[in-house]
């Protein structure tokens, strides 16, 4: 069971890294974001909510996914707690950003929605892994 959970967490972390990594690259290279919905991504990326105190939120997401991935290397309860805690932070902030997209910026960026979905799946997976009461031994 744990093995399957770990594999699923790795897969979603890699998807998240690809998504957030792309947005971070595009931001620093000054490129246009490839966008399915008309113009939504650029509008979102150009809004002030795309940065947190000057740091692009895509970079924060990238760091988050990598941190969840690295937490798998710590094979103790602490590692599972760290993975869940980071995913929970990512999930909470993603929900806030999605709210801003819908109600304030009024534009949707599929890369951001994708990342919010990956984070939601990760909070569930890391949550199951952490909360499952495994007796020692």
């Amino acid at each position: 069971m744990d093995r399957r959970l770990v594999i699923a967490i790795v897969v979603f972390c890699l998807l998240g890294i690809a998504d957030a990594g792309y947005l971070t690259y595009v931001h620093y290279a000054g490129l246009k974001v490839a966008c399915l919905a008309h113009g939504g991504c650029e509008t979102v990326q150009a809004s002030r909510w795309s940065k947190l105190d000057g740091v692009p939120v895509s970079l924060l997401g990238l760091i988050g996914y990598i941190a969840i991935l690295l937490s798998l290397l710590i094979r103790t309860e602490l590692g599972r707690a760290a993975g869940f805690g980071i995913a929970l932070i990512g999930f909470g902030f993603s929900m806030y950003l999605t709210y801003r997209e819908i109600f304030t910026i009024k534009a949707i960026c599929q890369w951001c929605v994708g990342s919010a979905v990956f984070m939601t799946v990760l909070v569930v997976l890391t949550g199951i892994r952490f909360l499952r009461d495994e007796a020692p031994g």
């Binding site: 000054g30 246009k32 113009g39 150009a46 809004s47 940065k51 707690a81 902030f93 020692p136």
Partner: protein
């Protein structure tokens, strides 16, 4: 004898069971504390992040005192000795033209103006290699509470351009840009920026900024941006003797600007 041994064993088994139950209780309590700690910690981090994000960055409207003195000195310093015509900054015969589509209320434009663009002006524009043209494209203002202020606000900068001071106005605006969505741009704000522009004839500027020509220019700029498929600010086009570079979008780095300029020079 056998009965005493049995009693002893039973007592031992009971003790062990109690000990196990106690350990299990402690383990559960420790886990509960850990879960609560993780959840509370995560909620706290998210709350702080939301507070920072909602609080908005940067300045909050017109500056005064030493802060304003420093801002004016910085703007005057970067623009010193560079010719201007309308919304164009730099040598009219410069081989490379960088056109920026911007919105004065857009915070990413501010980041770009105070970062990479500042370096571009200090180096390539000052040396006469590049001329920089400012054009209007509504983004942040359109998402705010009063989109109809957009032509007025952009024309205020163009009116300063009638006196070869558009870029002083643009940079002073970006330096003192208010928080997005707070409806801070009004006549007092626009007049306030104009009064900070050294050597600007205020009454001429006040008349010019009402001109239909200038608000018409804002509309033309937006149509041009639409024809290029730009929906975001800042969007930059870079043209030189070797043609056009791939447009640059967002708060680009100075090195990516340099690369694009090099590719068309």
């Amino acid at each position: 004898m056998a009965s005493r041994t049995k009693q002893k064993e039973a007592a031992r088994a009971k003790r062990l069971a109690e000990e196990r139950a106690r350990q299990e209780r402690e383990r559960r309590q420790r886990r509960l504390r850990m879960i609560a700690g993780v959840v509370i910690g995560a909620v706290a981090v998210v709350a702080v992040a939301i507070a920072i994000s909602s609080g908005g960055g940067g300045s909050h409207g017109l500056q005064t005192g030493t802060k304003l003195t420093a801002t004016k000195a910085s703007v005057n310093n970067v623009l010193a000795g560079i010719p201007q015509s309308g919304s164009t900054l730099g040598n009219a015969n410069a081989p490379v033209t960088v056109t920026e589509f911007g919105d004065l209320q857009c915070p990413i434009c501010r980041d770009f103006a105070l970062g990479a663009e500042n370096q571009l002006i200090s180096n390539e524009v000052k040396s006469g290699k590049v001329k920089l043209v400012y054009r209007s494209l509504m983004t942040a203002t359109g998402n705010g509470p009063n989109p109809s202020i957009f032509p007025t606000q952009q024309a205020a900068a163009l009116a300063a351009g009638e006196q070869q001071k558009a870029w002083q106005y643009i940079l002073l605006f970006y330096h003192q840009q208010g928080t997005e969505d707070t409806n801070y741009v009004n006549t007092a704000y626009l007049d306030g920026i104009a009064r900070q522009v050294a050597g600007l004839n205020f009454s001429k500027w006040s008349t010019d900024r009402q001109s239909a020509n200038l608000t018409g220019q804002v509309t033309t700029d937006q149509q041009l941006a639409a024809s290029k498929g730009f929906t975001s600010t800042p969007s930059l086009t870079i043209q030189g003797p070797k043609g056009s570079a791939q447009p640059i979008v967002g708060d680009a780095s100075y090195s990516s600007l340099q690369q694009a300029i090099k590719s068309v020079s």
